[in-house]
């Protein structure tokens, strides 16, 4: 059996395991016949949201890694996730303060929040490109991403403290920034699913362009790739996917880094193989991470982003150390 087949087998088995574990594990016992269907219903939607967020982030990771020709890039490391969080929080604030008297009551902030996430993610990527240019080294890219991320999170912190003036508004902003899929239901899936389907479909459509870009922009151009056009669209779809993920799961770090990295040696670097595998791999990874949040010893719930960070950050450090030893930084 080829490595690719083994990888898919593992993904499918782990995926089935994640579905079963997500439905069985959690507060509240399933042997209570009255509550059983309620628990299963809640856990089912929670599972769907975690899988969607994971897929969106890991496909987004593959896209930015292709765009920057750098396997250390990911939406969270480049500040795209933080930008989306800031955009989403801004919309919640605006909706509940300035626009509160103008809008019909059937239009809750939740409907416009993904749009704020999208604009935030987009803006973050454009600022990143403007600051680093396209040919800068790994260190400049990672540093700029880190600083942008800090900046966006600082502004977000400021907004959060401003929002505390109103108890309800403060709670809404804090709940959004903490993220997590535990309270997410069908409405969130309905909002995010079209974005993830669209973004992933588009990513697959650009896979040959991204393959050509593996050889750098000059060579890709000589092969007939319209490089500026690819760059525009890849940024657009990365922003879309990141926005979808942040809108349903909040700030989940390192998913877009860990999943494609783990899959590349198994399914290969060709995007036609890597993208579908990352779509499934991201869903499986975040679904398991969400199961972990329920079994971790803690008072109250452990945020989902904490678990993905606990797994992802060490992986990132190992990759960074390896790249540094191989002289690939700079």
């Amino acid at each position: 059996m080829s490595r690719r087949a083994v990888a898919w087998l593992v993904l499918i088995v782990a995926g089935i395991g994640a579905v079963v574990a997500s439905l069985l594990v959690g507060e509240g016992a399933l042997d209570d016949p009255e509550m059983r269907s309620t628990y299963l219903h809640l856990r089912g939607w929670r599972l769907a949201n975690s899988m969607l967020a994971g897929s969106a982030l890991s496909v987004g990771g593959v896209l930015v890694q292709g765009l920057f020709r750098n396997p250390l890039a990911s939406p969270s490391i480049l500040g795209t996730t933080a930008g989306a969080s800031l955009g989403g929080a801004l919309v919640i604030l605006l909706w509940n303060t300035l626009l509160a008297g103008w809008l019909p009551t059937w239009m809750p902030a939740e409907l416009a929040m993904p749009l704020g996430c999208l604009l935030g993610a987009w803006g973050a990527l454009l600022v990143l490109l403007a600051v680093t240019g396209r040919r800068s080294g790994v260190v400049a890219l990672l540093l700029t991403g880190f600083i942008l991320s800090s900046l966006f999170l600082s502004v977000l912190g400021l907004l959060t403290s401003l929002a505390q003036e109103s108890w309800e508004l403060g709670r809404a902003v804090v709940a959004f920034t903490l993220g997590g899929v535990d309270t997410k239901g069908a409405r969130h899936v309905a909002l995010a699913l079209p974005l993830v389907v669209l973004g992933t479909g588009a990513a697959l459509g650009w896979s040959r362009h991204l393959d050509a870009l593996l050889a750098g922009e000059d060579e890709a151009a000589s092969l007939g790739v319209d490089v500026p056009q690819v760059r525009r669209w890849v940024i657009t779809w990365t922003a879309t996917l990141t926005a979808a993920a942040v809108a349903i799961g909040g700030n989940l770090g390192f998913v877009g880094l860990v999943v494609p990295h783990a899959l590349r040696p198994l399914v290969g670097v060709s995007h036609r193989q890597l993208l579908p595998a990352s779509l499934v791999g991201g869903a499986v990874f975040v679904a398991w991470a969400d199961v972990l949040t329920r079994v971790m010893p803690a008072r109250g719930a452990v945020p989902l982003g904490v678990v993905t960070g606990l797994i992802g950050a060490p992986v990132f450090l190992v990759l960074l150390a390896r790249a540094s030893r191989a002289g690939r930084l700079g």
Binding site: G216, E219, G224, V225, G268
Partner: protein
Amino acid sequence: MTPQDGLVIDKVSAAHPNGPDVVHGVSFVAPSGALTALLGPNGAGKSTLFKGILGIVAARGGVHLDGEDLLRLKAQDRARRIAYVPQHTLLSAPLPVREVVALGRFAHRGPLAGPTRGDQDAVDQAMNDAGVSVLADRAFTELSGGEQQRVLLARALATGAHALLLDEPTSALDVRQRLLLHRVLRRLAEAGRCVVVVLHDLEEARVHADRAVLLKDGRVHTAGPVTEVITHVPVRQVYGVELVEGSGLGWRLPEDGEDRP
């Protein structure tokens, strides 16, 4: 006037992105069926001229291939007519050789279409012509410099382009790999393609090329048959060295056609 056969470069100027011109009004003809060497010291503008011809950097002037203006074409249409082998590839991903060569078919395929029979045949033929068929399933990053260079040549051949531009393809190769590459280039020229090669080594140019274009400070100093270009006066004026006739050693591949020592 009938359109000239081959690549006609007419008063082409080109610059690095956001920089001043480094190529100033260069004109020469690289006929089909011949191997034209582009020569000149470091910084003479050879690579930038190539990138201008390929539309990678902005260029002004006329670039015609068999009468067609390449600078007016879209990237995808241009890529089917003229192909490029870079001096150093940035490809550092372990893509299988066959997939690297298949990237040469990029400009022939629709946005969502899979590879056709014709695409696969073109890839097989290109790998065969460049002598890399045996490497098809190896990862590109595991190959030696000479093997990588021939894989990149195969990728350029897979485009089906009539003209080929190679930027110092032999500078990192040992003598045997160099001769193997020149044998492939010679066959391509004999098959009627227009081959333009940047070469660093004047001796190599004199042995393997038919014609030569000598650049100095972004301008053509001398152009014509290689035996007329690599002579005392131009070499002294451009490189600041004296040509010593009959110097150096000569090399050739063994007659039996064996590809391995």
